[in-house]
Point group: C2
Chain length 627, copies 2
């Protein structure tokens, strides 16, 4: 954690000094704002949390409920989401209160007696060790709480505005705040009354029945029918031996349950499969009672029993794989002629089968993709064209994910003997190991993602995928660190300089690159506003090939020792050596001639370049910084 | 974390439901209370935090300052303290914001040019890997903040009462609340006015100039003279290469500095040695100005410079090794005839050289020792005789610590060639490796600590020392866990049952012991009040010799599956298997015939017994439970 550089901080360093729109932020929703986010689900809250770190941007997030979410909805947190929480500073805390999945069990009918179930397999949840982050289960409400805390601690002092329902919007095309939005109060004295506000941008994170989506003329297409699950979060006594393990249970009678243990040591969730919802159902499946769910669950787990003592939440969750063809208000014919003003994120633009446990996770990554782009555009760091990349990037990701999920579910359901080639299954597992952990996303080359011309210089940082951390040792204080975990959700670009073999003081490609960075007019760093900290827009870090104790700190170029704060103090925590026994150059296939790895504020690798490719680097950033 | 068993918890599970004295707790200091703690330093705050988990006890903690500590004082946190913070739920958070010491550097005059300093050594901070917890540096104020948060989240909803100064007390010997305490308000409208309150017990945690100490007729004895340090917490620019490492710096001119990097990446503390304070000093040393300290520091670090840009805090800290002969109000002649009513803890009863960095750490362990004893006595779990053990245990510890610290400092200052036997230094290092991390404390046999008759059954859990954690795997959810980290500061005794080799279902010594625990009239568990959770007073855990996947959960005895909460749910998180490759039986020298390890609420091992020694176990607990 980096603080005290603007003067001594006596209290919790996580609470940043109020700044910009956070100074005297009005409690009441104003008439005009830069960004209006609709809906406080995971998608909306992450976007808001990200924007809360841009003091120059006036962001508000409305919610039709009168207060915070209290119970229910999703609970599966992939490792990629925990990695993201780490950037928002709450991975450790949510992990401490969550259930961590380390194994999964499979139960099938006993071949000897179909009326009974038996355990057929018990598998490690992440056998390939894909991530250093865990796979968690915790109530969605707690995820939202942590984002709310992050916002409240941010310079903008953001808080959700509860009790406002989005009704409709029009793009007036006029003035600085072109989007006119009609809201209805749902709580308080003025409940039922309408209110019209204006915004520069609107983000519809209002869930599967999104009204923002309708307002921009999108529809969810995909599966003909919904699949239905009876979902219950219960406290119960049970002699089922794996009651605290994630289990897929299939009974001889054809019923099936997905059992998800929950936080706290007792609570668990059961998804009782209610099957495809037939065309003429007219809501019949939704009438399934909790008593029916419990009875069905007991049938399925026979000879074991589940004696439910308390029902915390239950619901019939109906959903199918569906997707809109665009995630913003720019229709196909208009693409390239104007930049978007209205966006939709999360369930508003894509829904997923409950089985895959993707919903909340993908939705947050939508927000992580969009948030910084809005921040950059509104603070004048980048051009409005950045905003077009949101729909381009995320619509494809959602489509791929749905396609892949279907393929994955089909293959997972196949029995080994059904595969033509016996190695097919194994290949499939290896190839797709990243999927359940949320790491399959790979953005295609675009304004923001370079073509992989120099990928060979750092094969372990695939361009378009998220920057996978590895251990290093910080020079100034000899602290072992995970390099990637230092990348906070602060909206900054990151430039990782992996040095060539030369020592810090010696003339070298690294030294020349460093010199260019701080002195060249074409260097992206030249865009940093006068008066701001040297590292305000770009977080430049260097990793030498030597061990930390063998690097002379005073010989390290100035580019890696930026000045920060009103006292113009040197920030010494940007310089690293390799960790003995776990050399990041080996672990990530980095060339011993060095490499520059450019990483986006949302953690995705944007470019890999040789140390000499200053022109290419300048060219890459030019269209991202020009306004 | 264990929750939801009393019904669904929607918010932060760290915030426990208000109970007992926490329901409608008055904001104003009441006229009568069970425990009055004087002083919100580390000693007082830990005691208060511990007592905050006893809803039946009305505890108040007063402080003469008008509000929280904001800056300055101690900052060194030993691994034992971080281990303790873990029990209070904030180890990870404070670690995230603190400076972690991994190496220390030594600088001495350059033999070739005495006017310059050179680095002579760089050593690993914990070369022996004594603890899985780090050695931290962070402002004392933050430690206090975390304890305050813990209290506020406790069932008692405790908050310090700021703005009250302790003036004097008398033991009236009368009534339920015999101690009459005179306080003076130091803040608010009524500043200066006196207030008389009454308490059952008073804890003086009021620092080195303790008035509670005077009131019970104790004095601090020890070093004739104080040693003085100019202490400054500063933001500075410096070319000193180890400015972010803990350093002992000695200059040719005879000056010396202890450099302590601090949290946040920029701040550091320098202790500029001002030497022994001469007898006739009359406060002269205390007049050392910050300019003088900075000038002296620059002299010492020559040829490097320290350009101070901002002074966060500075002080002249004068201290010597001093100690009182008792830590409570029972004078020598009275010992054994009555139990104490007034206690002193922390700096009020012992002070330590700033160099050793013991002060804050030892003070907290005083509080950890005393807190649960007061809780047990006042809630009627244990007899008042428990309270006599506080002074008995901690006075000796403090004396040993001071003796040892002197010996340690002397030996550390010796040059290798000064040792008679070359192996002396090495032996010394190995023998004392636990000292700087805070793990040397070893309580002698007493009411609370058994004689080590069966120590051979678990050589890695020395009786009288704190229970050192080791990894295990939880049966119910396959989660790898550190066994010791599950011991929260909840005031409960812990009984760890290390099973013999038999399987869970088989007849065995483990099964018999388990049966005795839950059914025998002499079992300590029989003392648990009717209606309370089965594990309300005793947290019983079992570790089998098998891997978790090979244990049949339904065959595990009921003693290890207690019922909890209003729904009478089975608590399944008490059963463990060994971790492959790191078997706790091997790591801690536990007999393959099994062993029972009894651990006090403050983490110290109280007894080690064979599985068959039910009589001995009953005898051990009998005097601790009888009221
Ligand atoms: C009732 C329910 C049960 C669910 N159960 C499961 C489950 O069992 N398993 C699972 O994996 N996933 C479940 N989900 C889906 C999962 O919660 C979503 O995939 C995930 O939350 C997507 O996040 P989001 O932010 O896009 O949308 P959501 O979390 O749906 O958030 C949308 C938010 O917008 C608010 N909102 C909606 N319309 C308006 C409006 N007009 N004006 C203002 N605010 C509005 C909503 O109140 C809500 O807070 C459930 C969702 C719901 C709604
Ligand atoms: C000014 C100062 C500077 C220090 N600097 C260093 C340092 O540089 N390095 C180091 O290692 N240690 C330092 N220490 C010592 C270190 O802080 C202590 O060892 C440690 O805090 C001991 O904890 P404690 O709880 O016993 O006492 P303290 O932390 O001293 O807490 C005592 C508390 O009681 C309050 N109090 C005192 N008298 C009364 C009264 N009559 N009524 C009500 N409240 C009262 C005080 O305001 C204080 O909050 C310093 C202590 C002080 C006071």
């Amino acid at each position: 954690m980096h603080f005290h550089h603007h003067g001594y901080v006596s209290g919790d360093p996580r609470v940043q000094p109020a700044a910009g729109t956070g100074i005297d932020r009005p409690d009441e929703l104003p008439d005009r704002m830069d960004v209006l986010i609709v809906g406080t689900g995971p998608a909306g809250m992450l976007t808001a949390a990200q924007l809360s770190r841009f003091p120059g941007v006036n962001t508000r997030i409305i919610e039709r409920r009168p207060g915070r979410l209290e119970i229910g909805q999703a609970d599966g947190i992939q490792a990629r989401s925990v990695e993201t929480f780490q950037a928002f500073g709450f991975a450790e805390r949510i992990t401490a209160e969550a259930y961590a999945i380390t194994e999964m069990a499979f139960w099938k009918p006993d071949p000897a007696d179909q009326s009974k179930i038996v355990r057929t397999a018990r598998t490690i949840d992440d056998p390939a060790g894909i991530s250093e982050f865990p796979h968690l289960i915790v109530n969605q409400a707690r995820v939202l709480d942590y984002f709310a805390e992050f916002m409240a601690n941010s310079p903008t002092r953001m808080k959700p505005d509860y009790g406002y329902e989005f009704k409709d919007l029009t793009d007036t095309g006029a003035g600085e705040y072109p989007i006119e939005v009609t809201l209805v109060r749902t709580a308080g004295d003025e409940a039922g009354s309408e209110r019209v506000v204006r915004a520069k941008y609107v983000v519809g994170s209002d869930g599967a029945r999104s009204k923002v989506r309708s307002a921009i003329g999108c529809t969810l297409d995909g599966d003909q029918a919904n699949h239905a699950w009876g979902v219950m979060d219960v406290l119960a006594e049970s002699d089922f031996p794996d009651i605290r393990l994630k289990c897929a249970i299939q009974s001889g009678g054809g019923g099936s349950i997905l059992l998800i243990p929950r936080e706290g040591g007792h609570l668990f969730r059961m998804y009782v499969d209610l099957g495809e919802v037939p065309a003429g159902d007219h809501g019949a499946v939704r009438k399934t009672t909790i008593e029916q769910m419990i009875a069905k669950a007991n049938e399925i787990v026979h000879p074991y029993t589940v004696d439910v003592r308390d029902v915390a939440w239950h619901s019939v969750y109906e959903v199918g794989h569906r997707l809109t063809d665009r995630f913003d208000d720019v229709v196909a014919e208009e693409r390239g002629t104007r930049t978007p003003r209205v966006f939709i994120t999360g369930d508003a633009c894509h829904t997923h089968s409950a089985k895959a446990g993707q919903g909340m996770n993908v939705s947050m990554q939508d927000g992580f993709n969009l948030g910084w782009k809005l921040g950059h555009v509104l603070e004048g760091r980048g051009p409005a064209s950045l905003l077009s990349t949101y729909s381009e990037e995320r619509q494809v990701v959602a489509q791929n994910l749905i396609d892949f999920d279907k393929q994955w579910s089909t293959l997972m359901a196949k029995r080994p003997e059904e595969f033509e080639d016996p190695s097919e299954l194994e290949d499939f597992y290896v190839r797709t190991a990243e999927f359940p952990a949320g790491f399959m996303t790979e953005y295609a080359p675009s304004l923001l993602v370079a073509a992989p011309a120099h990928q060979d210089l750092a094969t372990g940082f695939p361009i378009g995928k998220r920057f996978k951390s590895a251990p290093v040792v910080r020079l100034c204080d000899s602290n072992p660190k995970q390099l990637g975990h230092l990348a906070e959700a602060d909206g900054r670009w990151r430039i990782y300089v992996f040095a060539d073999g030369a020592e810090a003081g010696a003339p070298s490609a690294t030294a020349e690159f460093a010199n260019w960075l701080t002195t060249a007019a074409e260097s992206p760093l030249a865009a940093t506003p006068a008066g701001a900290d040297d590292d305000a827009w770009f977080d430049v870090k260097v990793v030498y090939q030597q061990a930390h104790a063998d690097i002379d700190i005073n010989a390290v170029p100035a580019a890696f020792r930026p000045k920060v704060g009103p006292f113009s103090l040197t920030h010494l925590e940007k310089i690293f050596g390799v960790q003995e026994g776990d050399d990041i150059f080996d672990a990530r296939g980095i060339s011993r001639d060095g490499a520059v790895v450019v990483v986006r504020p949302d953690h995705y690798v944007a470019n890999v370049l040789p140390l000499t490719a200053t022109d290419e680097l300048a060219d890459f950033f030019a269209p991202l910084l020009a306004v």
